[in-house]
């Protein structure tokens, strides 16, 4: 028994991931005395370590961190002006840290809607196919672990990394903000920032699960990376242009869109995840936003411009939230299905 484990160890030492398995194997021997260690978390740990040591993750973290700090710097430069312009009873001074800009450099959440997908794609585009191309998949799967541990662990590991990173950035901004402007966030503001952070995590994890799906679908890592990036480009740049073009063809020039027309257009635009994310951030970071669509005069009659409570804001963007979460789960669902049905033996 011990001999076979030792040979297994030697055999799989080449693979990145199989190191984790070997640790598991080692520990499984000791499991009688030490108590059970779930092999799933060992794979997750290993994946996280791999990501953190990788160059591409480092570069993306630096890019996102720099844009975050850059936007923070710009907003700190302009927050005094913004606070003076706004009404005296504006209770949301702290949220301005996340939204104020000087017009030259977009605020942090706009950057995030561009760069977040890139982070997600880079974390997932070679999740499965690289294992195939390196030939390590069969070694891992020959370990006595359930097959679905691999894909679930890969997804979980990336999710943890994303969550840690965004929570860190949000609290970093909060901390620097408190030090430099001297205003502590209220409970309401803190909740809003936290929800915004969760929204960005969900947004990035959607792209992550999409790219994992692509990494299963395409055997070449480069193909899946390119297809991921092209989807991202399509949604962020071309989709809105396309919708505008189609609408300008349907609606004759000079005529204004009816309310239902505007609503249809918005609904079509909201198919894209980045539109959903923009909606969420807009509402969560600006409490005075009451509606994302057009409002009729009837609806505005008797309304007074007061900020919404955080729960009402959340309810307003709840469909968007649900869309992103459901999209993430759906992509994971299909990648799981695809991975489980894939014939491993042919690739071995």
């Amino acid at each position: 028994m011990k001999f076979t484990i030792n040979t297994l160890k030697e055999e799989i030492i080449m693979s990145h991931n199989s190191q984790a398995i070997s640790t598991f194997m080692g520990s499984s021997v000791l499991s009688h005395s030490k108590g059970e260690v779930n092999p799933f978390w060992i794979i997750v740990k290993k994946e996280i370590a791999d990501h953190i040591r990788s160059w591409r993750f480092g570069i993306l973290v630096i890019i996102i961190g720099l844009t975050c700090l850059g936007s923070l710097y710009v907003s700190l430069q302009n927050i005094a002006d913004a606070l003076q312009k706004s009404k005296v009873d504006d209770a949301f001074a702290f949220l301005k840290l996340y939204t104020v800009s000087d017009g030259k450099m977009p605020p942090y959440f706009v950057f995030l809607s561009f760069l977040g997908p890139l982070l997600g794609i880079s974390l997932g585009f070679d999740a499965i196919n690289s294992e195939y191309s390196r030939g390590t998949i069969s070694r891992i799967l020959s370990q006595p672990i359930p097959r679905d541990f691999l894909i679930t662990a890969k997804f979980t590991a990336s999710l943890i990394i994303i969550s840690m990173m965004f929570l860190l950035l949000s609290f970093l901004v909060m901390g620097i903000g408190i030090i430099s402007i001297g205003i502590a966030p209220t409970v309401e503001e803190f909740t809003r920032v936290l929800l915004f952070t969760i929204a960005s995590i969900v947004y990035v994890s959607f792209w992550l699960s999409l790219s994992i799906l692509l990494s299963i679908k395409f055997e070449q890592a480069s193909t899946s990376a390119l297809s991921g990036i092209s989807i991202w480009l399509f949604f962020t740049v071309f989709y809105s242009i396309l919708v505008n073009v189609v609408f300008s063809i349907i609606i004759p020039a000079g005529r204004k869109l009816s309310i239902s027309g505007i609503q249809t257009k918005l609904a079509i635009l909201r198919i894209t995840p980045n539109q959903l994310f923009t909606d969420i951030t807009n509402v969560l970071l600006s409490p005075q936003v009451r509606s994302l669509g057009p409002l009729s005069m009837e609806q505005m009659e008797g309304a007074i411009p007061t900020p919404l409570p955080v729960f009402q804001s959340l309810l307003l963007v709840w469909p968007q939230f649900v869309g992103l979460i459901a999209g993430t789960i759906l992509c994971f669902f299909f990648s799981y299905l695809l991975f489980m049905r894939k014939d491993v033996k042919t690739l071995m």
Partner: protein, 381 residues
């Protein structure tokens, strides 16, 4: 004519006395009383002081009991030797003793002659006081305008005057016997006071400020005021006519002017219509200016009558429009009668209905369920 015989009698009596003395009855009448002013003329309220001397013509010390008779009951007097009230004096032989009689003529006195006798032992001295005029002790409290009309929130300022027709300076305390809740303030010298001093035959103008109670009903009210001291008093009845005013206040029992409501939902808000005026509010109608698509119903729709100082409760059922957006809205509720109206702004916070939120949660649960199904199907393979 009637008094003359009396006077003559007195003269005759004195003459008789004199004669008796002359006729060697000296042993019995060795004592004599003397004063210089035997007949004085006084006006009511005046005080006179007689300097009396009692002579002893005898060779022995005489003990004389002192008495004064013929003095009207309401008059006050004092008989003093030095600084003491005395009832009896002793006079040395061939000597005299001074006495002082102080007499106060009251205000309430008739015109005429009054004779009184001072007795010292056997000796008797008649003193005549002529009251020169009819005594007056009346005080007049009057006002040219005793009746005033105004609404319940106005102050009534009466110009009154007190005339002291007595022959003496008087200090009056000013009192009122107004109904409960009324405030009556006397201002003799443009300053609030409770008493006033008026010299003899003097006149003082007193301003009386009358403030009706907070929730006075319309009607006529009598405010009796009086100037009183121990000698004299005078009363005056002031009259205030309160005209009805229509005032009302629309509010909520706790004064809370905000409520929450779900979009498309109902919310009942209790309102209170207070009658702050002095007339009955009849047929109070309630109305609401509301955002479009909203409904506001009142229960009851109309309040029949609210007496002054009372209030009536009204339930308003606010129904928000289905497609109202979350946020704060202003609804103005108005209570009105033809004479007056009162408005209250209600801040209504509209909340999104949770139905779609639960739909979202359901969708997420459904998709998670799909994944779990996959786990169950493919896991552990």
């Amino acid at each position: 004519m009637k008094k003359k015989p009396f006077f003559i009698k007195v003269l005759m009596f004195s003459a008789l006395m004199f004669m008796l003395g002359v006729l060697g009855l000296k042993a019995a009448n060795q004592v004599e009383i003397y004063t210089s002013n035997t007949k004085v003329s006084l006006s009511p309220g005046e005080t006179v002081t007689y300097n009396l001397e009692v002579f002893n013509h005898g060779a022995e010390v005489q003990f004389c009991d002192l008495a004064i008779s013929g003095i009207p009951r309401s008059w006050s007097y004092s008989l003093k030797s030095g600084s003491y009230d005395v009832k009896q004096i002793a006079v040395k032989a061939n000597s005299n003793q001074a006495l002082k009689l102080k007499l106060n003529v009251p205000l309430k006195v008739n015109k005429g002659n009054y004779t009184l006798y001072v007795k010292a032992g056997e000796a008797k001295l008649p003193l005549v006081i002529n009251v020169s005029k009819q005594g007056n002790f009346k005080t007049e409290f009057s006002s040219k305008q005793k009746n005033m009309q105004g609404h319940s929130k106005s102050d009534f300022s009466f110009n009154t005057s007190i005339v002291n027709a007595t022959g003496d300076d008087q200090t009056y305390s000013l009192m009122s016997n107004a109904p409960r809740g009324w405030t009556v303030v006397f201002k003799p010298n443009h300053k609030q006071a409770t008493s006033v001093e008026i010299e003899a035959n003097g006149k003082k103008d007193v301003v009386i400020d009358v403030t009706p109670p907070h929730n006075v009903k319309e009607g006529t009210y009598k405010i009796p005021v009086s100037a009183v001291n121990k000698n004299t008093s005078s009363e005056l009845d002031l009259e205030v006519v309160i005209t009805g005013t229509y005032e009302m206040e629309l509010t909520t029992p706790q004064g809370l002017a905000s409520t929450k409501i779900a979009a498309g939902g109902k919310q009942m808000v209790e309102f209170v219509v207070k009658n702050t005026g002095s007339a009955d509010l009849k047929n109070v109608k309630l109305d609401a200016s509301k955002p479009k698509g909203w409904q506001v119903r009142f229960e009851p729709k109309e309040i029949e009558s609210i007496p002054p100082g009372e209030y009536s409760k009204v339930d308003a059922i606010i129904e928000a429009s289905d497609n109202s957006v979350a946020g704060d809205y202003i609804t103005n509720i108005t209570a009105k009668i033809p004479e007056v109206s009162s408005k209250m702004s209600m801040r209504v916070a509209v909340k999104t209905s949770l139905l779609w939120a639960w739909m979202g949660v359901f969708i997420i649960i459904l998709s998670l369920g799909g994944v779990i199904l996959l786990f169950v199907k493919f896991g552990r393979r």
